[in-house]
């Protein structure tokens, strides 16, 4: 009798764990009701140039899920740590065409296309998978807020900008589905799992 309860307990735990693994990711941000339908938060619209002078906008990324961060190449504080975590994501999903990576510069005055190209070259990454984007400064700072990443100019901050190091997972429809703290490597494995969950969800839906 005693063992029976133990086995039942283990079985219940396994069922619970397997359910959790297949659970759909939550939609982050404010949800509103429009005409009786639930509408989830979406990231803002953007049209920026990549390190290869390619125009990248929401439409280009609508066939992909992507992780995004906000950085600048001369950042003397948290950016290299965040980029290092982005590289882990890049390595894990290098053979998964559904996943893209996007790094928006918040310092477009210094980070023009040529400088972003040099930065990307030195990272030695597949540049068809990872876009480094530059655009209008105020538009990008506003855009960061829609990714739940505070970013603003501050002459007293290292490099002249204050910003968070969050890495944000965005689905094909532009909804924020998960995030990690780019400055804390311990939060990266959970984001990697969440990206895989989202990839699996889309693959299941197309079967």
């Amino acid at each position: 009798m005693k063992y029976k309860s133990l086995w039942l307990g283990c079985l219940a735990l396994m069922v619970l764990l397997s359910c959790r693994q297949n659970a759909e990711l939550p939609y982050l941000g404010q949800t509103t009701l429009q005409d009786g339908k639930t509408v989830h938060h979406k990231v803002g619209t953007f049209a920026c140039y990549s390190q290869d002078s390619q125009l990248v906008d929401n439409a280009v990324l609508s066939q992909h899920i992507y992780v995004a961060d906000f950085f600048f190449t001369s950042c003397p504080s948290i950016c290299p740590r965040v980029i290092k975590e982005m590289m882990k994501i890049n390595d894990r999903f290098k053979d998964e065409p559904m996943v893209k990576l996007v790094s928006f510069t918040i310092d477009p005055k210094r980070d023009d296309v040529a400088r972003l190209k040099l930065y990307a070259d030195n990272l030695g990454i597949d540049q068809s998978k990872w876009y480094f984007l530059t655009g209008d400064k105020d538009a990008v700072l506003d855009l960061a807020n829609t990714f739940f990443v505070p970013a603003f100019e501050d002459k007293d901050a290292p490099g002249g900008f204050d910003h968070s190091g969050k890495i944000i997972l965005v689905d094909k429809e532009g909804h924020v589905r998960s995030f990690s703290e780019g400055t804390d490597p311990e939060t990266t494995p959970k984001l990697l799992d969440d990206i895989q969950t989202l990839v699996d969800t889309y693959k299941k839906a197309t079967k």
């Binding site: 001369s74 003397p76 290299p80 740590r81 040529a114 400088r115 040099l118 930065y119 990272l123 990454i125």
Partner: protein, 128 residues
Amino acid sequence: MIQRAMFMCFVVLLASCNESPYMQGKRLYAANCANCHMDDGSGLASLIPPLKSSKLIGDVSMACVIAYGIRDTIFRDSVFLPREMPSFTRLSETEVTNIINYVNHTWHNDFKETTILDVEAALKKCPK
């Protein structure tokens, strides 16, 4: 006699538990260097060189790089592009010495201890 031997064993054990003999250097490294060179000195691809295999490890001229940074320019497709490490002129000579000793002693490198006098002499010879 036994008590003395036990005491010595305790001291040796205590010393072996200590991660680094350069704790001040470790704190200064974490505050000033680790954001770019990373906690484990691995750097970031070709953007930020790893310290583990740097030719500056064990060389007191590392003081110049810490104090005055690096300013370099690359010429590509008719464009000059900057590539640099910021300077840390706010660090005192003692602090620079502590960082050098921590970096020289960590990641299984083992060089002789750098003194403040070594650093003072090296800083006087830095290319301006």
